[in-house]
């Protein structure tokens, strides 16, 4: 009889819901309190935060909407307005929500956001600009635009970092100062960084538990715990959250309690977006096969080197360096990602790779097939591509997910038995 696997859920992650809800509630009601609101993409959201603005982050909204099971409804509004199905789902979600607000089309109340006073483009991805431009055209929302190119080679980082910092100083900061009528709050930014440093340090300590065999938690648990190092950045309650999480993981580890019971069969690397609207579906599929997703390029993006945060340094320079110092920056480009994947495959004793390709977003997908080939040749770790979407259910085929996952697990099994022979 086939082995039955179960997920032994964490307790601490139950506490994230109220923190996240509070954030969105405060954002939704910001205008009633006369607060200014910005919608941001890329790494720029810390700047409006420092100015005391309420700030919405593009990808965070997708995760939230997906979690609230409102994504399909909002996407439908966008498509009815003329947005085309192959367009980036994050773009469409925002167009749909803004259209619903503008035209009074009913959507779930808790995913309605205030129309912002400012759109801030942090152009890590070219489409992060297109969505702001679209909202400007449709609703006349002003834009502050910062180009943030992801470097392809180590030697490119320094100059690009200087360029990004210059744009922030000459374009974004003065715009925020004009909008809020106050000088830039450098001290507040340092305070946010100090809290972030603590939260991200604890988060890294939690990451260490992913290295254990079996692992006491899964990447999905981290996925739902991501907000404290992301859009909840700087909130004091993020620190106790990660302290609690770390304590629970330490306790589980001491008891030898694993995330998957009765045994962890496959340890998986996950590339690309987390499938926000389908976390449950994927979790069930992983669990039913005894597989546990552990590491990923995207979830590792949020301040992986908190030791480099220096609350006593010039906060703007320090923050930009977190993105543009080649030793510590996130690995956006495929060129920089390959060595990262190689490292984590070894550090976390991974058995296979799942490259999650979003059909409506090409930021991770270019090169997925080649990355699998490189890692397989060098480390003997196989991989598969799953193409779906992070929020749009029309682009997700459970049958394809099953087939690809099965193919991966069979390859891992075949290699294991070959090694035993």
């Amino acid at each position: 009889m086939a082995q039955e696997y179960k997920l032994d859920r964490l307790e601490t992650t139950k506490h994230i819901g109220p923190m996240v809800d509070k954030h969105w509630e405060e954002l939704r009601t910001a205008k009633q309190r006369g607060e200014k609101v910005a919608w941001c993409s890329g790494p720029m959201f810390i700047f409006p935060y420092a100015m005391g603005m309420k700030c919405h982050f593009m990808a965070g909204y997708a995760a939230y909407c997906g979690g609230r099971r409102a994504a399909d409804q909002v996407l439908e509004v966008a498509e009815a307005e003329g947005d085309l199905p192959d367009t980036c789902s994050y773009h469409k979600l925002h167009m749909g929500m803004a259209t619903a607000v503008k035209k009074g089309i009913p959507i779930k109340e808790d995913v309605i956001l205030p129309i912002p006073d400012l759109m801030i483009i942090g152009r890590l991805c070219t489409e992060m600009a297109h969505y702001a431009e679209g909202l400007y055209r449709r609703m006349g929302i002003p834009i502050s635009a910062i180009d943030c190119p992801p470097p392809r080679r180590k030697e490119d980082y320094a100059e690009i970092g200087k360029f990004v910092e210059k744009q922030v100083r000459e374009e974004l900061i003065p715009t925020l100062e004009r909008l809020t009528g106050t000088p830039f709050k450098s001290d507040r930014m340092s305070e946010i960084l100090a809290v972030l440093k603590k939260a991200a340090t604890l988060r890294n300590e939690c990451w260490e538990f992913f290295k254990q065999i079996p692992s006491p938690w899964t990447l999905w648990d981290y996925g739902v715990s991501i907000a404290p190092v992301f859009y909840l950045m700087g909130k004091p309650e993020t620190i106790p959250y990660y302290e609690k999480l770390k304590a629970e993981l330490a306790e589980r580890s001491a008891q030898g309690r694993a995330a998957i019971i009765p045994e962890e069969k496959y340890r998986i690397y996950w590339d690309g977006w987390l499938p926000w609207a389908f976390l449950g579906i994927f979790s069930r599929k992983f669990t039913s096969c005894g597989a546990v997703p552990l590491v990923g390029r995207y979830p590792w993006e949020f301040f992986p080197h908190p030791e480099a945060i220096d609350p006593n340094a010039d906060p703007i320079h320090n923050y930009i360096q977190l993105w543009y110092n080649p030793e510590i920056a996130p690995k956006h480009s495929a060129e920089m990602a390959v060595p990262f994947i190689g490292e984590v495959v070894e550090d976390y004793s991974l058995d296979g790779l799942i490259m999650f390709t979003s059909k409506s977003c090409r930021i991770w997908s270019m090169g997925h097939a080649d990355m699998i080939d490189i890692i397989d040749k060098k480390y003997g770790v196989p991989g598969v591509i799953i193409d779906a979407d992070m929020v749009d259910s029309k682009m997700v085929s459970e049958a394809q997910i099953d087939t690809r996952m099965q193919a991966l697990f069979e390859t891992i099994d075949a290699r294991r038995s070959a090694r035993r022979r």
Binding site: C88, E159, E171
Partner: protein, 378 residues
């Protein structure tokens, strides 16, 4: 057909043969530029031949193993051509962040095609501020040094200014030809205009200028067509040559293309670079031109629909045909606003979604027929 035009057709009908032939006969180096905004003048000044990389004319086969199926035809076909060895005569390739897909190409090309050199320019979107301009100039300077190193030929102000002049001359000649098409509707077919522009992207500009100079008086002898077909503008098809069968369909339905807003069209020759000043400054200024509004560049205050509306008015055209490349995100994101605004402005408009692979044209034919009815052409 005029002799010069025949020569231009030869080039676009088999760009592989034409470019490889140039290399063979001159022993020079070929540098492929990914569309749409790499300043070719810098490569030209180094004595190498800049060509604009193109969409192949075959269905994608081996490329499938490297590039997702939900990418635009150009990126898929280009990777396919590359991995099948069809681009081996290209010495160097230059990319920049046209869009997410183009930004991801160098990784695949570096590993599987291995041109002698591959460079990536971090040309920023056209955002405001001195920082952006300084960085564009920095990148152009870096590009210049790279081209000097790869060609073994130094580029000075004089040689770069000379290249700018040659390019400006080419653009001026192309504008004159486009004026003939605009002033004498039907005198130049869409296929001919495409061949005239695309050949410029594939051969030395000096040679192209010569051919255009001999072609121009010939074209001036052509008359406007007397069929009284409805005048239309074609727009879109972002980095790619539009499909010829669709152009023929437009033609065969009796519509007369009087102008276009395409990259392999009027966008390629719309703006000159200023002569006689610091050439990198001049090229940076050309790069930063906001008009024609390009969906891949960060520009929001100038509206593409207004630009198209002006083009319609200037040409007394009856409407706009948008060619939207399947899976082209910059156009996908912009298109709904163009559609709605053109409707508000009362400009008749139809969109055809275009794929790389051969598909039946029936749907396009039906859409074009209803469009023709809408503009009173039937």
């Amino acid at each position: 057909m005029e002799q010069a035009l025949e020569k231009l057709f030869e080039v676009v009908e088999d760009p592989y043969k034409a470019v490889a032939g140039w290399k063979e006969s001159t022993k020079g180096k070929v540098v492929g530029c990914f569309p749409m905004h790499i300043p070719e003048e810098i490569i030209h000044a180094s004595g190498m031949l800049p060509v604009v990389l193109w969409r192949g004319n075959e269905p994608v086969t081996e490329g499938h193993a490297h590039v997702p199926p939900f990418n635009c035809g150009l990126t898929r076909s280009f990777v396919d051509d590359g991995v099948r060895g069809k681009l081996n005569f290209i010495d160097g390739m230059i990319f920049y962040r046209t869009c997410l897909q183009a930004g991801g190409l160098p990784f695949i090309i570096d590993r599987n095609v291995k041109p002698s050199f591959l460079e990536f320019l971090y040309l920023p979107a056209n955002f405001p501020g001195a920082g952006t301009r300084d960085f564009i100039i920095y990148e152009l300077g870096r590009f210049k040094s790279l081209m000097e190193e790869k060609s073994g030929q130094s580029i000075n102000e004089e040689s770069l200014n000379r290249s700018i002049e040659i390019y400006n001359k080419n653009r001026a000649l192309l504008r004159k030809i486009n004026d003939i098409r605009r002033n004498r509707p039907g005198s130049i077919t869409p296929r001919e205009m495409l061949a005239i522009v695309q050949s410029s992207m594939l051969m030395p500009k000096e040679k192209h200028n010569e051919l255009l100079e001999s072609l121009l008086p010939e074209l001036e002898k052509r008359e406007a067509s007397s069929d009284g077909g409805k005048k239309v503008i074609i727009a879109g098809s972002l980095c790619q040559t539009p499909r010829l069968d669709i152009l023929d369909l437009i033609d065969n339905l009796g519509m007369v293309v009087v102008d276009d807003d395409m990259y392999v069209g009027s966008r390629y020759f719309a703006n000159d670079a200023e002569e006689g000043i610091n050439p990198l400054e001049s090229l940076a200024t050309r790069y930063q031109q906001k008009s024609p509004p390009c969906p891949t560049k960060g520009e929001w205050e100038l509206d593409w629909s207004d630009y198209l509306n002006d083009m319609v008015k200037k040409n007394q055209a009856a409407g706009v045909i948008s060619l939207l490349i399947k899976f082209c995100p910059p156009h996908l994101c912009y298109y709904p606003d163009v559609k709605n605004r053109l409707a508000d402005l009362g400009v008749p408009h139809v969109m055809l979604e275009v794929e790389h692979e051969a598909v039946t044209l029936e749907q396009s034919r039906t859409r074009l027929q209803s469009f023709l009815e809408m503009i009173g052409g039937v």
